[in-house]
Structures are given as C-alpha cells and as structure tokens.
C-alpha cells in the first residue's frame, strides 16, 4: 500500500467501511440539507421578487456579491459567528444555492407568455388560479433546471468543507495531501466518488425534468 502504485483496489475494499463509506454518507447529508433549506428559501424569495418587482434589483446585487466570495473565505467568515460546526458549512452552502436558484426561479415564474396570461384572465381565472394553474406549472422547467445546477454545485463545494470539518469526501483527500508522499488511491477513490455522486444526481435531475414536462417532449 505504497504511494508508488497508482491505484490499489484492495485499499478501497478494506477502507470502505471506515473512510470512504462514511465520507460519502456525510457528503450526501451535507448536500441534502443545504438543498432542502436552499430550495425553500429560494422559492420564498423568488415568490417575493415575482410579486414585488422592486426586490429584484437588490436580490440580484446581493447574489452577485456572494458569487464572488470564494467558498473557503465564506466558511471562514462565518466561523466567528457560528463556530466550527456543520451549521457554518450549511449556511455557506445554502448561500450558494440561493445565488443559483433565485434567478432561475424568478425567470421561470416570468416565463408564461403574455397571450396565455391574457387568455387566462379573460376566461375568468382569479389571480391566484392563474398563478397556481398557469405560471407555476410553466415555471417547472426553470425550477428543475436550477435545481440541477444547484445540486451539482453544492456537491462540488461541499468537498471544501473538509477545511473546517472532518466530514465529507474532501476529508480523505485533505488528509492524504497532508502526507509528504500523498497516497494516490485515497485521493482517486474519494475524488471519483465525488464526481460520480455529482454525475448521478445530474442525470437523475435531467430525468426528473423530462418526466415533469410532458408537453415539451413531443416538439
């Protein structure tokens, strides 16, 4: 089990239980929590921005600002407030999902064509009915599309969480790198898992989008 060999399958098998497996589970947990909270928050913010147009500008600016903050820096910024905990990591991750999801959701809510809205109004649908039966369903493509990007991005950023916490798939990599002769297998296997996780989620969400949009399938 030396760093000379490029890949050592035995190591993977031996250490699945104590290293890779738990890391994967933690990674999924971190991502899932961030996405769940991020989705709920983004949806609320998008509804508000849709209803009160003037909110769009400030939300856009704040998003742009958060976007430029490197994740490490964001994690560290939060440490004085929330300590070195999962909370810190989650807050940062949620922040990044907001940056992606809110513009997508708002664009989706806006995507209903004007003539469709006029016909709906002329037919006697109330404002609420127009929202629930026309605008919201038509926003689904953008919502799921945004989710796709957000999930993959979150999985990616979550690797950096290893800087703060001994959790997630970034941790084995981080440990390995501390070694003067880094153990390649550990790096490759953890890395491959992270990439695989992201790709699987990406594919799942593409499938979800296709399943939810029967009306676009046949053009």
């Amino acid at each position: 089990m030396q760093g000379d060999h490029t890949f050592c399958p035995d190591w993977v098998r031996q250490h699945w239980g104590d290293t890779l497996g738990p890391a994967l589970v933690q990674h999924i947990e971190l991502t899932a929590i961030a996405i769940a909270i991020g989705f709920a928050l983004s949806f609320t913010l998008a509804l508000l921005a849709h209803r009160f147009r003037w909110l769009e500008q400030p939300i856009g600016v704040i998003s742009a600002v958060i976007y430029t903050i490197p994740s490490i820096a964001l994690f560290l910024l939060l440490v004085p407030f929330t300590g070195i905990t999962r909370t810190t990591v989650e807050i940062a991750l949620v922040g990044y999902t907001l940056v992606i999801l809110v513009p997508n959701f708002v664009a989706g809510l806006r995507s209903a064509p004007a003539d469709v809205l006029e016909a709906a109004r002329g037919m006697g649908l109330t404002g609420r009915q127009i929202f629930m039966r026309v605008e919201l369903p038509l926003a689904v493509p953008a919502i799921v599309g945004g989710l796709r990007i957000a999930v993959v991005s979150t999985i990616t950023i979550a690797t950096i969480a290893a800087f703060l916490l001994p959790q997630g798939l970034g941790y084995p990599i981080f440990l390995a790198l501390k070694d003067p002769t880094p153990f390649k297998t550990e790096i490759y296997s953890a890395g491959a898992l992270a990439v695989a996780l992201a790709l699987v989620c990406d594919a799942l969400l593409v499938g979800l989008r296709r399943a939810l949009i029967p009306w676009a399938r046949q053009t």
Partner: protein, 315 residues
C-alpha cells in the same frame, strides 16, 4: 346549447389620460341576441377596446354596458368572465395542458362533474372540426389552424351566451383563414350565440357579419348596419373609402342567382347553378363576353336567365 344574450352599449366613453382623442366616444350600440356582430375599423378606432370592455378587461369612464338587461358591473369580474367566451389572436392555449384540459378549464372552474366535462369536450371537438382523439395532444403538436379551433372550443366550453373574438384569424395564412371563416359561419348557424368579432379586414367583416359596426379614429361610430346596407348606402365619405371603391361588386357577392328575379329563356351564355353568387355570374359573363347566363337547379333543370344589364337593378 343555451340561449344567446343581447348586448347594449349605452353612451360608453373612455379616455386615456394625456391623449386628445378618446378611445371610445359616446358609443351607443344595440346588439340583438344571436347576432354575429363585427366591430371593424382602422387602428385607433377603439374596436378592441370596446370588445374588452364587455368582459371588463378594460374599464370605461362613463356610460353602461348591459348584457340581457343587466349591467356588467352587477357581477364580480371573474364571475362575469366565466360566462363569456373569449378568443384572442395569439390564442393563448396553455402549453402545459393537453387540448382536452385546455377546453375543460372553465367547466372545471365552475365545478362541473368530470363525466360532463369529458362528454362536452368530445362534443366541442367535433363541433369545431377536430377529432376526439385530439384531446390528448398538446398545443405544440398542432398547426396554427388547429390551435385556433381549440381556442374556439375552449371559449365555448361552458356554453356562454356571448362569444368575444379579437382578430382571431389574423395570424393565420389566407387559406386557413378562409376555411375557419366558413366554419365559424356554419358554427354560428348551428349554435346561434351572440358573437362580437373584431377585425380590421373589411372583407372578413362583410363575409362573416350579420351586422357591422364601423368605428372610426377617436372611437366614433361611423355606421352600424347590415353588410348590404353599408355597401349600398355608406353613411359618409369615411365609410365609402373604408369599404372601398369596388363596393358595388362586393354587394354582388352577397347575393346569389337564387335571390333575384329571372327572365324567361332561352339564354345564350353559360349554365350556372342557382347558388352561384351574382358576382361570379357577372364575372363569367365578362369572361366569355355573353350578355346572360342560364340558371339551373341541382337537377339541371333550367330556372331562367339572368341578364348582365339587370345586374345593377338587382342590387
């Protein structure tokens, strides 16, 4: 199908702030129940505005609009609209719903039982010339003409006594437009609802309407009468120019050989069926340089002769 409703515009005026000309200027119009009424005119004439006032999409400043004697303000707007069919040029079909779901929108809002909605959908699809199987398709899979038929079916779904149509055929190619115009006329004969139809196309107005209301710039009513009367006796120079210099020929198109007194034979010209329009008959005589045509019935029996020189009197 339910009865049609009478619509009355009573001194309706609308002004937009900062504009000199009114959108509608003291419009008074009586549309008897079951009439196919066309609102026609140049842009700025207020025809679409007048239409959209009926279902309260556009408010007016003074006057009253009554449907079957009741002011349109008596009901909440949403309820009013559910009782009026509304068709627009870009149709506005809900892209995320099937044809069937689109058609069933207002019945669902009104709480109809599913069975009833389904039966009604099939009935309407056949009425507008589509197949029952089309109910499962999506708007993106249909042609422009098919979509407009669905739009029509959707507007008729809850069996409203009034149908509002805002330049519905404007975005279609001429052949499809002609076909849909013919179908709409047939539909109106079958269904007998009050239809208010907006167009800027004089020919379309003359083809379709029982009554035509010509609105001129500034929302002023220039003339309100049957197509024949407008063509034959235009109220002023504006109307004359609007309907065109060939209005006499157009009037000929409104009548057939069956509608006019015929002379006894023998004639020298072509044999034409009685349902031929006078205009086509005149065209035939000009083409072959004859002075008359022989009118026959469906079985081929001679009914009489129509002479070119009697065409003017026939108007």
């Amino acid at each position: 199908m339910s009865e049609a409703a009478e619509i009355i515009f009573d001194h309706v005026t609308k002004r937009y702030a900062g504009r000199e000309a009114a959108a509608l200027d003291d419009l008074t119009l009586e549309i008897p129940a079951g009439t196919f009424c066309i609102l026609v005119g140049p842009s700025g004439g207020g025809k679409t505005t007048a239409l959209k006032m009926i279902n309260r999409l556009i408010p007016f400043d003074s006057g009253e609009i009554r449907i079957d004697g009741r002011s349109i303000d008596a009901l909440p707007a949403v309820e009013l609209r559910r009782g009026i069919g509304y068709v627009i040029q870009q149709i506005g079909l809900f892209p995320h719903m099937t044809v069937g779901e689109n058609i069933g929108t207002v019945p669902r809002l009104l709480g109809w039982p599913k069975q009833k909605i389904r039966a009604r959908t099939v009935e309407l699809l056949e009425l507008v010339g589509l197949e029952a199987s089309d109910a499962r398709r999506y708007p993106s899979q249909l042609s422009g003409g098919q979509r407009q038929r669905v739009g029509l079916a959707r507007a008729l779904a809850a069996d409203p006594p009034v149908l509002l149509m805002d330049e519905p055929f404007g975005a279609l190619d001429p052949i499809t437009r002609l076909r849909l115009q013919t179908e709409l006329r047939r539909l109106h004969r079958e269904v007998e609802k009050t239809i208010i139809f907006v167009t800027h196309d004089v020919d379309e107005a003359i083809t379709l309407g029982d009554r035509i209301a010509i609105l001129r710039q500034g929302g002023v009513l220039a003339q309100y009468d049957t197509p024949d009367a407008i063509l034959g006796h235009p109220a002023d120079d504006f109307v004359k120019e609007f309907v065109g210099e060939d209005r006499a020929l157009r009037r000929l198109a409104l009548r057939t050989l069956a509608d006019v007194p015929l002379q006894p034979g023998p004639g020298s010209g072509a044999r034409l069926p009685a349902h031929t329009s006078l205009r086509n008959a005149v065209s035939q005589m000009l083409e072959t340089n004859d002075e008359d045509v022989v009118v026959v019935d469906d079985a081929g029996n001679e009914l009489g002769v129509f002479r070119l020189r009697d065409a003017g009197a026939a108007l």
